[in-house]
């Protein structure tokens, strides 16, 4: 039986008005602007763009303001907005080898062409609260040094020359798109990478950490981590050639993983890959570790039953918008469902009670 009930309109309206008031907070404190969020909470903006799957810093900043800093709520807003946009096309695959790098490090080679460039990193800070930021502090100018123009080669190219690492051969197969077709198993690597790049950072981090702790361990080294801007080029049919339509900041992580070899592959290093919108190296490294763990089948490794090897488990639980939607729906009215459960429990108890009375009598 379906029972429709009405009510709560006034309560909902009042709740939303109060939400707006709470969002604004104390009126004696200056209101945050979108530009302030975009410029000063940049890493939050980057996370919302990566998991919202839409690169637009102003929109992400607006979503953060609207959601009062609840990043999953902000990601939800971005995903909802994204569906209203007509799709003009797909870009040529970006060339990360031509990235204008802010940061580029390798944990495997000390002296590599292009060098170890730290960039604006939290690494080597002491993680002590800086009370100067609580006051209106002037920031010192960052030092400059003359740079050498030109592309920075990928670290894996050096290992490739000796044939010690698996190749990532050029391929132009059009990738599947999970924003157009529902995610179905088996998922090829292109689909897995799309799901992982927009996956929840915390979930991806937890899975990656589980591989390091021994659940499908794959001995990853960060072969290279780079952060910077790449141009986005798209073919324009009305022009008959491709043009740059913009540029995006990306974080790329290539792991180099130990591999003893299998029936089909010689002993060599294998690779995991992470590529994420914005500056987000925790996410990019996590993505690379999980990508590598999910490749067990094509590399002929054993399935040890670890969560990070289970494509279905990983991909169906990595999306925080799907997860939060299903999780949070249980707080919405289930009065009728619950009423029937209540009836059932009462009935079972009556029957059990009758049995007990029967037993006592015997």
């Amino acid at each position: 039986m379906y029972v429709a009930v009405k009510g709560g309109e006034q309560a909902i309206e009042s709740a939303h008005a109060w939400l707006a008031e709470e969002r604004r907070g104390d009126l004696n404190i200056a209101e945050l602007s979108i530009a302030q969020i975009r410029e000063q909470l940049k890493l939050a903006v980057d996370r919302v763009m990566a998991e919202g799957s839409l690169y637009d810093p102003d929109l992400a900043a607006l979503a953060i303001k609207q959601s009062r800093g609840d990043l999953i709520e902000a990601i939800f807003l971005i995903r909802a907005y994204r569906t209203t946009l007509p799709r003009f096309g797909a870009s040529e695959p970006v060339d990360t080898g031509a990235m204008a790098c802010d940061r580029r490090i390798s944990a495997t080679f000390k002296d590599l062409p292009g060098g170890q460039v730290l960039g604006p990193t939290f690494d080597y800070t002491h993680r002590l609260l800086d009370f100067k930021l609580a006051a209106d502090g002037e920031t010192p100018d960052a030092p400059s040094r003359e740079s050498v123009p030109g592309d920075v080669p990928h670290v894996t190219e050096f290992l490739n020359r000796e044939g010690l690492i698996e190749e990532a051969p050029h391929d132009d197969t059009p990738p599947p798109d999970l924003t157009r077709e529902p995610l179905e198993m088996p998922a090829d690597r292109a689909l897995r990478l799309q799901a992982l790049t927009r996956a929840d950072e915390g979930f991806t981090l937890g899975l990656a950490y589980s591989t390091q702790r021994g659940y499908a361990r794959n001995h990853a080294f960060v072969g290279e981590l780079r952060i910077g801007k790449v141009a986005v080029e798209m073919d324009i049919p009305e022009l008959g050639f491709a043009i740059e339509i913009g540029e995006v900041t990306l974080t790329e992580c290539e792991t180099v993983n130990q591999f003893k070899g299998s029936k089909t592959e010689p002993p060599q290093f294998t690779r995991g890959y992470g590529l994420v919108f914005g500056q987000s190296e925790r996410k990019a490294i996590s993505m690379a570790l999980v990508d590598r763990a999910l490749r067990w089948e094509e590399l002929g490794e054993d399935n040890v039953g670890a969560p990070a090897q289970d494509t279905e488990f990983v991909l169906y639980h990595a999306d925080n918008i799907q997860a939060t939607g299903f999780l949070e729906h249980i707080k919405l009215p289930h009065y009728v469902d619950f009423q029937s459960e209540l009836e059932l429990v009462r009935k079972l108890r009556r029957e059990a009670g009758a049995d007990q009375v029967q037993e006592a009598a015997e």
């Binding site: 839409l54 007509p86 870009s91 990360t96 002296d111 051969p169 132009d172 690597r189 798209m234 919108f277």
Partner: protein, 151 residues
């Protein structure tokens, strides 16, 4: 006479530059240089998205990373030249200015537009890129050996 490839290469370069210009910049440079010509819309400014792709391992099979917002439009000058714009973000008036520049670059005013709009954009962009690269270069690690462990 220039061949088609070279002609495309030039147009490709200026359209790329226009797509990445900061908000309001193209319009400001254009309006400072000349009065806007009359035009009719072929396609009024429209906001949409482009799916950005990467390659597995940097060089392998393509995959979808996520979308980027893009504004596009097309117009015809009274003299017949067609200007197109595809620019990053949600910026309708910037798209209009970019399409006008694209069209004007095909007219006798190309030299003036190049000088006052494109060269200025190029110079600003290159200065910003170099300043950032120089800050990165200042964070490059210089290793030196303190002691060797073997003796």
């Amino acid at each position: 006479m220039k061949d088609a490839f070279e002609e495309n290469a030039e147009r490709k370069a200026w359209m790329g530059l226009l797509s990445k210009a900061p908000e309001g910049r193209v319009a400001a440079l254009l309006d400072a240089a000349m009065a806007r010509p009359d035009f009719t819309w072929l396609r009024t400014p429209e906001i949409g998205s482009t799916m950005v792709r990467g390659r597995a391992g940097g060089t392998g099979a393509p995959f979808n990373i996520g979308e980027v917002t893009v504004t596009r439009c097309a117009l015809t000058l009274a003299s017949g030249e067609v200007g197109h714009a595809y620019i990053q973000g949600r910026r309708k008036s910037d798209a209009e200015a970019a399409a006008l520049v694209d069209a004007l670059m095909q007219t006798g005013q190309a030299g003036a537009v190049r000088k006052s709009v494109l060269e200025a954009l190029e110079a600003e962009r290159s200065a910003a890129t170099i300043a950032r690269a120089n800050k990165a270069a200042a964070t490059k690690v210089e290793f030196f050996t303190m002691t060797r462990g073997e003796d």
